[in-house]
Symmetry: C2
Subunit: 114 residues, 2 copies
Amino acid sequence: MVYNACGQKEVTTLHHDLPNYMECPAEPILKLISGKWKPQILYLASKGTLRFNSLLRQLPGSNKQSVSAALRELEDAQVLSKKVVQEKPLHIEYTITEKGQSMLSIFRLASSFA
Amino acid sequence: MVYNACGQKEVTTLHHDLPNYMECPAEPILKLISGKWKPQILYLASKGTLRFNSLLRQLPGSNKQSVSAALRELEDAQVLSKKVVQEKPLHIEYTITEKGQSMLSIFRLASSFA
DNA sequence: TTAAGCAGTCATGTTTCTTTGACTAATTGA
DNA sequence: TCAATTAGTCAAAGAAACATGACTGCTTAA
C-alpha cells in the first residue's frame, strides 16, 4: 500500500488529472493551530491555566474578539477545555487537554526547520 | 535550561506581563506550509517534478496567480527549487528539495491528529 | 501563418480574517 | 455606592488572502 505526503493511503480517484487525488487530512489541523494568535495561545496554555483578561495582556497587540474566537475554536476542537471555577472570585479557566499537549509536538517539529 | 512549547530556550524578556515572552519559531514554518494550495502543491511535488500548467490542471479550482505566488514562496524558502530545462521543448521544472522532503514529516505528524 | 501550449504578470474584484469601538452583565474592593 | 475587574458580544471598518479576466512573449506543431 502506498502512502502519500500526508501519511494517508492512496485510494480515491476523483479527477482524471489526479490519478491518486486526495484531500490532505493535515490541512484542518494546520488550519486549527495556525493564524495570528493560536500558536502563542497554545504555547501559553502549555505553561499553565489561562484566564481571559490575563491572556489578553499576555498577547500585546491582540484584541478581545480575536482571542475569544481563537479560544472558542480551540475549545471546540478539544485542544483547550473551559471551566467555570466556583471559587473566591468566581472565574473561568482554560486548560490545555491531553490532545492539546500532544499536538505541541507539531510545533516542536516545525520549529526544527526554522 | 527550560524549553518552551516550541522547543526553544527561554531567555528573552520583552514585557512585564510576559516573564519569558518569546515568539514561537514554529509560526513562520506553519505559515509557509499553510494556505489554500501549498499543502497540496507540496504533496504533488513529493511525487515528482512539477511544471506550471500541469500543476494548475492538477489543482482543480486553483488559478495562475495563487499557484504562482505559492510556488514563489516555497522557492524563496528553499522548499522547492526552480530550474529552466534546456531540452527539447524548453521548459521550467519545480523540484522538492531535501529540506522540503524532510518537512513533509510535519504533515504526517499533523495528520495523525485528524 | 496560425493556432495552441507554456509560463507567467498586472489590475481589479471578492471573500475571509483581523481589529476597533461601543456595549452588556455579574462580581468585588474601597 | 462607585469604580474596577472579569468575561465576554455585536456591528462595522480595515487588511490580507484568494480569484478573475485580460494580456505578454516565447516556442512548436499543423
